[in-house]
């Protein structure tokens, strides 16, 4: 499989806080790759840096061979990478449809209309509520909107930051089913999760992040990790 994203020796700081300490990983075309780790491990920092919201102190972010280090987020989208950020961050005072339109900001209106139908296919709930103001949606619906909005830019690679956060188990299952569907429809996925069980069960490969570093003794095939005693102990509650 072709390499889509390759992150090399990435270092990210918040002022003097060294949050991401030289991590490297890669995502191949068509995969679901998950980055799991405890709260504060640096998962969001990594994703936000790849997405261009934060600037790395050093390292490389190669997307389809192109170095995106220092490219701002609004340009990254046009390259074919979308980030669905932690906490959803839908535009609360805008309607569902307007949120989706914003997702297609870098696209022509013809492309946007076409993609909208696909997104409505994945999320029929959004179609039903297209005129509703996003802030009045339930948590699960807002997550769907955030994911649909990210899809509207037609990304080759979709990065999801804790899509299960704060959702009831039944909704979590639903969201993960949709992630698998999106992947089947051709979108490569980089998934960040605290819910390691769920993430490992749908991913092809996984990396484990511990205080800013990837634990290389526990990486690779997601199914293997799901059965590994070490991972079970540390991340699966037993």
């Amino acid at each position: 499989m072709a390499e889509m994203l390759k992150v090399e020796d990435l270092h990210v700081y918040y002022g003097s806080i060294h949050a991401v300490k030289g991590i490297s990983f890669e995502v191949h075309e068509g995969e679901i790759v998950t980055l799991i780790g405890a709260n504060g491990a640096g998962k969001s920092t990594t994703l936000n840096t790849v997405g261009g919201l934060l600037k790395a102190r050093s390292g490389h972010i190669l997307f389809e061979g192109k170095d995106l280090h220092g490219v701002p987020a609004n340009k990254v989208v046009a390259e074919g990478m979308a980030l669905c950020p932690e906490g959803r961050r839908v535009f609360q005072h805008m309607t569902v449809l307007e949120n989706l339109e914003m997702g297609a900001y870098t696209r022509s209106s013809a492309e946007a209309e076409e993609t909208l139908e696909k997104v409505y296919g994945l999320f029929p709930r959004l179609k039903e509520r297209y005129r509703q103001v996003a802030g009045t949606l339930s948590g699960g619906e807002q997550q769907m909107l955030a994911m649909g909005r990210a899809l509207m830019s037609r990304p080759k690679l979709l990065m999801l930051d804790e899509p299960s956060m704060g959702l009831a188990p039944i909704l979590v299952q639903q969201i993960f089913d949709i992630i698998v569907d999106m992947n089947k429809q051709g979108t490569t996925i980089l998934l960040v999760e605290q819910n390691a069980q769920m993430a490992l069960s749908i991913a092809n490969r996984a990396y484990i992040l511990e205080t800013g570093k990837i634990n290389h003794s526990m990486e690779g095939d997601a199914a293997d990790l799901l059965n590994s005693e070490e991972v079970k102990k540390a991340y699966l509650g037993g």
């Binding site: 997405g51 261009g52 919201l53 701002p72 987020a73 609004n74 340009k75 989208v77 046009a78 979308a82 980030l83 950020p85 906490g87 961050r89 839908v90 535009f91 609360q92 005072h93 805008m94 307007e98 339109e101 914003m102 997702g103 900001y105 870098t106 802030g135 909005r149 990210a150 830019s153």
Partner: protein, 290 residues
Amino acid sequence: MLANLINGISLGSVYAIIALGYTMVYGIAKMLNFAHGDVIMVGGYIAFYSITLMGWPPALAVLAAIVVCTALGIVIERLAYKPLRSATSLAVLITAIGVSYFLQNAALLLWTSNTKVFPNIFEKLPGLRLGAMQIAPVTIITVLANIVIMVTLTLFTTKTKMGKAMRAVSEDKGAATLMGINVNRTISLTFAIGSGLAAIAGVLLCTAYPTLQPTTGSMPGIKAFTAAVFGGIGSIPGAMLGGILLGVIEIFGKAYVSTQLSDAIVFAVLIIVLLVKPTGLLGRKVNEKV
């Protein structure tokens, strides 16, 4: 009574146009651009000299004022506010006050403190007779301009891609960036629109109250800011409503209570409204993002 109401609506329309600039900039940059009032004054001078010195027709003079103020707004944002994008709001506020003084003093140097008498540019237009009452053309044009601006802005922010992007930026800059929106350019555009409107307000104000000095913009600026807060800062219809109410209250206060106390009445009303509804009349609660 009716005459006062019409005067109030007319004055309030000017406040509303100025308040739009405050409210749009606040909505998007989360800052109070205290120099906004002084942009009005610059617009007034540009129009004044375009007419008296260059001999340009009023329409061209208004256009010149809009062009200069729009450019000025963009430059102010770029030079004074953009470097402070991540600074504390207090630093930004102090800078805005500094820019305000800078503009006033630059005007003093360029155009001296001598009061200029602004020409009546709508002289040739017919007024409107309402029974025994004559409504001046400037009054009619001010109210019309306000309505046109309000409708245009509402359509712009709800129907166009750029306008929706502006609302997205005002809600969440990070999320807007992730959509591919250029946040800096959007902020710049907002300043441009606000300042262009200030130019229009400047010409209307100077035509209705035809004296022009470097401090001309201060008081209307503060009143319009009050109107923006009154209506709910960040809200476009709020700016409209706040502006008109403020104008009407001010004129009625002058007519029926006391000329000296009219401003005090205006602010007293503001305080009462804010006590009852802290977000202003049409303001909405800002949910703080974590």
